[in-house]
């Protein structure tokens, strides 16, 4: 990593002047020139000297200056092996930042540590130092590193390998550092198992490749001293719930081999890093959260695209606006990263920027796209281009949010609010140098969440970031991992799995003949009695393990990408437009059974957007309570059903969804230029939901007609979804919404029942079994109502817009007042 000037790890002395030539010359020539280019560009946004208060025109809604921070150093921890210290000093690390020293001391004195410090603050040394120090002191020691992606492991390997070779050269040791993942050649695996002191891997490999084969890894497990989990915040929702169970299995295997490793985790800034670490590892943690790394000044701007049609509440397209914003920086030779919200938006923006800034075909590609689904070689090439400065702009999804080394860039432009405070800071951190200014610009889309954030900057700048939620006890996930664990080692009678008492689940698995109980002197054990290799049937990324490959048949048959099962039906249906780096493909055939989509390159001016219908059925109510709560005494005088205006509930539901058609949408103008019907299979799942039931009495008090009331409920649900997403720190696709009249709810344009007598608004977990959103949302009901009201009331549109109750044209003009009226009734008891 330190070989790249741009990726210089803080904590190291500044590179000698000679390195400022070569690849670096491709970047903006001097820091001064860059500084003035940045100032000029920012001036174009009315940001002036950077300290101006919020601009009144509503276009730039916030300008905040994140002040520069001086480095905080700390003395070398005494417990650190002096040979490591000498090797670090020889590499130019004169002293440690305070957080590095604190993390190393804690870990070396037997504590589990979680570190939350900003991007590029030298966090890798926080775990590399204690690990290498321990290996130096006892060469038998082993460590296992987990990264959320293979790419990150490769990236870290380069850095750790270099540090280890310095240590080896200086101390005459043979510390082996290897990655072990799906790409590791079969013939190298045996050697790695015996020679690696530090194994860099990922959760999937540990789950399916290492734990089931633990006897082959006996040396690692017998001597495992540290488990390092990088980018801990990436493990939330489904992935996190799986990881917690993988870690239960890991710790079980360690106990078998008599080891008891410590855990060192690093995380982006979230509200509950320690809680998340403790939930995932089920052990107590110490938190290190004060970064000692220096930071240059950063300007943070919020841009709200101007309203172009006040009547309809339509703003200028945020993609167009992001294109313009990125252009201001790009044309001043600044290096820019643009984050888009979806793969589609990534491709659209890449197309736009290529058009604006790239020469004719054949000239070097200075604008690149980057997202999941690109093949690894293409990704590595783009990363190299960014580090060398050859690539001037990259348009990426969150795939580049994690710590892949791309050097530090001048400006980060976010096209659309990333969905959470934590990941917004993470993305903003992609721009920034240790000295000199950098900028981050958030361009809001017309989605309600974006509108809420840009109109209420204090929510973002002053509130704590979100909580990361996981549900390790999701029955689907738990059951899968109990099978895997039973395969690895027989469960003893009375043995627990993490916090769980699993004897009853094992009893059921015995009925299904997966395991068999044998009594012995020690009380007995559950033996695995199945031929299967259970880990193969479990994917950590989803509750089902399928994916689709995309095959380009224009010339021959090349695999050009892949898509997970859940989104395949909505993105790879026949006639769908599939986009890779601006190149358009049309799906010619979807082989559902074979999990393949055959595409052919096309030249057209539209993309497609699928229309999905959803139906929700309540299976089981866990908790239910009238809202708002009646004043004391009222409950006694009137029966519940008569007084309750509404009811909040959470419980188990069944969700059935089907992609019924698609719209063709023209690039640039976003006009709807056609549509098509589709006949695709239904997808069913059993999950959990929170729902709000509006009583007949409440609906009756609304001075509006039937249709207007219906519009109001639809508008209300539209806004509620956004706020729920905000409160839950989840991605848009993590939750679904549905409206129903009786026991059932439906969603999708035109699918809402015409008569809503006693409507219910469902917010459901979009994963089988649920990942723990419903109960917290039930608990946050009051805040959900209050924030939704704030969102709708604060919107300047006249009759509803995409920023509050949904685009006019899809709902009637009464939606906004009706929704507000309902929220008023819900907020205040009417006694």
């Amino acid at each position: 990593m330190s070989a790249q000037p741009g990726g210089q790890e803080p904590g190291l002395l500044p590179p000698p002047a000679t390195t400022a030539t070569g690849t670096r010359s491709l970047r903006t020539a001097t820091p001064q020139a860059r500084e003035s280019a940045l100032t000029t560009a920012l001036a174009r946004f009315g940001a002036g000297e950077g300290a101006r208060p919020d601009t009144p025109d509503g276009w730039v809604t916030a300008v905040r200056v994140v002040p520069p921070v001086e480095a905080q150093y700390a003395p070398w921890p005494e417990v650190l092996d002096p040979r490591l210290r000498r090797a670090l000093e020889a590499r130019g690390v004169a002293q440690l930042y305070s957080h590095q020293a604190a993390a190393a001391s804690l870990a070396l004195s037997g504590h589990n540590v979680v570190i939350t410090t900003p991007t590029a603050s030298g966090k890798t040394l926080c775990y590399n130092a204690p690990v290498l120090s321990t290996v130096l002191a006892d060469p038998a020691s082993r460590a296992l590193y987990l990264f959320p992606t293979k790419a990150l492991a490769q990236d870290q390997l380069a850095e750790l390998h270099e540090l280890a070779s310095h240590v080896n050269a200086a101390a005459g040791t043979e510390i082996g550092v290897f990655t072990y993942d799906g790409d590791t050649p079969q013939d190298a695996r045996r050697a790695i198992r015996s020679r690696a002191h530090v194994v860099l891997s990922n959760a999937d490999m540990v789950h399916a490749g290492i734990l089931p084969h633990h006897p082959k890894w006996a040396k690692l497990f017998e001597n495992l001293r540290f488990v390092v989990i990088d980018e801990l915040h990436a493990y939330r929702g489904v992935f996190g719930s799986h990881l917690a169970n993988v870690l239960r299995r890991l710790q079980r295997v360690c106990r078998h081999y008599g080891s008891d490793p410590l855990f060192i985790c690093s995380s982006a800034t979230i509200a509950n890093p320690r809680e998340l670490a403790e939930r995932l590892v089920e052990r107590p943690f110490e938190l290190v959260s004060e970064s000692g790394a220096p930071r240059g000044e950063k300007l943070f701007l919020f841009v709200n695209p101007p309203v172009v049609n006040r009547e309809l509440g339509i703003r200028r397209s945020y993609l167009t606006e992001a294109r313009r914003v990125a252009g201001e920086f790009l044309r001043r030779q600044l290096q820019v990263i643009v984050f888009a919200q979806s793969r589609l938006a990534t491709e659209i923006l890449t197309t736009y920027l290529k058009e604006d800034f790239e020469g004719p075909a054949g000239t070097p590609e200075t604008v690149r796209g980057y997202r999941g689904g690109y093949l690894p070689l293409r990704r590595r090439e783009i990363e190299r281009g960014l580090r060398s400065g050859q690539v001037r702009a990259v348009v990426a999804t969150n795939a580049l949010e994690l710590g892949i080394d791309i050097g530090s860039l001048d400006v980060a432009v976010m096209a659309g609010y990333p969905g959470t405070i934590a990941s917004t800071w993470q993305r903003a951190g992609r721009a920034g140098r240790r000295e000199g200014r950098s900028a981050a610009v958030l361009v809001a889309s017309s989605a309600p969440l974006d509108q809420f954030v840009v109109r209420t900057p204090s929510y973002f700048f002053d509130a704590s970031p979100e909580h990361a939620l996981v549900n390790p006890d999701n029955l689907h996930i738990l059951l899968d991992h109990i099978k895997c664990a039973a395969f690895e080692l027989p469960f003893a009678a009375g043995e627990r799995f993490g916090r769980e008492d699993v004897q009853e689940i094992l009893q059921l698995l015995a009925e299904e003949r997966f395991v068999h109980f044998v009594e012995d002197a020690a009380g007995g054990q559950w033996n695995w009695t199945s031929e299967s290799y259970p880990a193969d049937a479990v994917s950590l990324r989803s509750v089902s393990s399928d994916n689709f490959v995309v095959i380009d048949t224009t010339r021959g048959a090349d695999v050009i990408g892949e898509t997970d099962f859940t989104s395949a039906l909505s993105t790879l249906h026949e006639k769908a437009i599939y986009i890779v780096e601006g190149q358009l493909f049309q799906v010619e055939r979807l082989d559902f059974e074979g999990r393949k989509a055959y595409v052919r390159a096309v030249d057209c001016d539209y993309y497609t957007d699928a229309i999905t219908y959803t139906r929700v059925t309540v299976l089981d109510v866990f908790e239910s309570e009238p809202v708002p709560r009646m004043p004391a005494g009222a409950e006694e005088t009137a029966p519940l059903s008569a007084t309750a205006l509404a009811t909040r509930s959470h419980g188990d539901v069944r969700v059935v969804s089907r992609v019924v058609g698609f719209k063709k949408i023209r690039f640039y103008t976003n006009e709807n230029v056609g549509s098509g019907e589709l006949d695709l299979p239904e997808q069913q799942m059993h999950t959990t939901a929170y729902w709000l039931t509006l009583s007949r009495a409440l609906m009756a008090t609304l001075p509006y007609g039937m249709e207007e009331r219906r519009d109001g409920v639809i508008g209300l649900s539209y806004a509620m979804r956004q706020v729920a997403q905000l409160l839950l720190m989840c991605d848009r696709q993590d939750i679904g919404i549905s409206i129903g009249a009786g026991e059932e709810g439906t969603a999708g344009a035109g699918a809402v029942p015409a008569e809503l007598d006693e409507p219910r608004i469902f917010v459901y977990d979009a994963y089988p079994g649920g990942i723990g959103f419903s109960e917290p949302l039930f608990g946050m009901h009051d805040e959900l109502v209050a924030r939704t009201r704030e969102l709708i009331a604060g919107c300047p549109c006249e009759h509803g817009c995409p920023g509050c109750v949904g685009p006019i044209g899809e709902i009637g003009p009464a939606a906004k007042p009706v929704a507000l009226l309902i929220l008023d009734r819900l907020a205040r008891p009417t006694v």
Partner: protein, 465 residues
């Protein structure tokens, strides 16, 4: 467990079964209902009598003995097959007795490390039955079958694991057997049996005893010698080199009531649940038959190599013997084998005859060229070119070799040009085409010059090939 939780769990398990995401647990449904094999075991039956009782019962059912050691127990079933015991059309005596262990040809079969021919101890034929094919910590070797050739017959010892908790005892027995051998012989054991056992040793935190022990895995020689020995299409899975297929094709063995491989783990799981060992008897018998076939197969390969090509009965056997002999440096015997194979393949008129003939002629040509017998090599290459059915890749190679031969060695430019032209016509890939055109152009230039002024003495650059 609450009724709701239980019903949710049942629903999830049902759904898993339905969507095929999980393999059916142990193939319980596939066990045919021939009495004891499919005992209903809906609930774990815990045997509360003395722990010895079921063990003794199992030993009785399988006519074995109980070995107690290292705090556990395992079952030993020992059988002796006398020399005249029939196995298909052969007899156990055809395995050659203890002398097989000392046969120098064993080393040619590719055992690394090689079995020790000087060892006073014999070869150990080994074959496992396991609880699955996936490998990993949850795949157990529940039956370890071992066979040793003795003066008057074949002795088979089978170690049966009475329960997972007894594994260390079984492994101690395996270790004793492995330590006391000149080398192992297995069928696919390098890929499967030994790694599974290694995992079992490591799982029990014991050191696997296989390092430095000679090991001949017969699956590789068998593919060389006998792929296609069984009629094509006769085996639904298309693997004509399964041991059971070979024994039938080569030795005329017909197994009656043999338990199919996929059923074996389920029978063991049933035994674990019920304690009834009787349904395991066919599994043990299956394992014993595999071991006898393995011993006979090994003996046959050794005999083939010792007397090749006279000992060979098919073109493929001759070809394979030639390759093994050539690799071992016995080039004269190898060459005789290649000639024999080419001739036989022509006569045999089997579907893969052309392929085998071409391969044999190619091996012969390369052999001759290495000895600088270029005219003999050219004859062999020509044999390939003349065969209309020779595989395209080998034909291309032959045409090119002939073009080179006539250009540089025989100095017959018109012939060289003819082969170069034929070769160009059959080339694939732009690079190869380009090279072909270069050669043709050069030959044309030479021919042109030859017409004007003959330049025979001109030094020609020797070409690769």
């Amino acid at each position: 467990m609450s009724a709701r939780l239980e019903s949710r769990l049942r629903e999830i398990l049902r759904a898993r079964r339905g969507d095929g995401a999980g393999t059916p647990p142990d193939g319980g449904d596939r066990v045919p209902s021939n009495g004891a094999a499919s005992l209903p075991a809906r609930h774990p039956t815990v045997v509360r009598t003395s722990p010895d009782a079921p063990l003794r019962a199992a030993a009785e059912a399988l006519q074995g003995t109980v070995i107690e050691r290292a705090g556990g127990a395992c079952l030993l079933v020992e059988r002796f097959y006398p020399a005249d015991h029939p196995h298909g059309l052969l007899r156990v005596a055809d395995a050659g007795g203890p002398a097989l262990s000392a046969a120098p040809e064993l080393a040619l079969l590719g055992g690394r490390p090689e079995p020790d021919p000087a060892s006073a101890r014999g070869l150990l034929f080994i074959d496992l039955e396991t609880t699955g094919l996936a490998g990993g910590a949850g795949t157990y070797a529940f039956l370890v079958g071992c066979a040793v050739l003795e003066r008057h017959g074949l002795r088979i010892r089978q170690l049966l694991l009475p329960g997972y908790q007894h594994e260390r005892t079984l492994l101690a027995e395996v270790e004793a057997l492995v330590r006391d051998t000149a080398g192992l012989v297995s069928y696919n054991g390098k890929t499967f049996d030994v790694p599974v056992l290694e995992t079992r040793f490591q799982y029990n935190r014991l050191c696997p005893p296989f390092d430095g022990v000679g090991h001949v895995d017969m699956v590789h020689p068998a593919r060389r010698f006998w792929r296609g020995a069984a009629p094509a299409g006769a085996w639904p899975d298309g693997d004509s080199c399964r041991l059971s297929v070979l024994e039938r094709a080569l030795f005329g063995v017909r197994r009656l009531g043999d338990v199919p491989g996929f059923e074996i783990p389920a029978r063991y799981f049933d035994f674990m649940r019920s304690g009834n060992a009787a349904p395991l008897e066919p599994v043990l018998e299956h394992n014993r038959l595999d071991l006898i076939s393995l011993a006979l197969l090994t003996a046959r390969a050794v005999r083939l190599l010792a007397g090749a090509p006279a000992s060979c009965e098919s073109a493929r056997e001759s070809l394979a013997a030639g390759r093994f002999l050539e690799r071992a440096g016995n080039v004269d015997a190898a060459e005789r084998c290649y000639r024999d194979a080419a001739a036989r393949a022509y006569v045999e008129r089997r579907p893969d005859g052309a392929q085998i003939r071409a391969e044999a002629l190619r091996a012969l040509a390369l052999r001759c060229r290495r000895d600088r017998r270029h005219h003999e090599a050219a004859d062999a290459w020509r044999g390939i070119v003349l065969d209309r059915n020779a595989p395209a890749a080998i034909r291309r190679e032959a045409l090119e070799a002939l073009a080179i031969h006539f250009e540089h060695r025989a100095r017959d430019l018109p012939q060289a040009r003819r082969y170069a032209q034929l070769s160009l016509a059959e080339r694939v890939g732009t690079r190869a085409m380009q090279q072909g055109r270069h050669r043709l152009a050069r030959l044309d230039r030479k021919l042109e010059r030859g017409r004007g002024a003959d330049t025979p003495g001109q030094p020609l650059l020797p070409e690769q090939g």
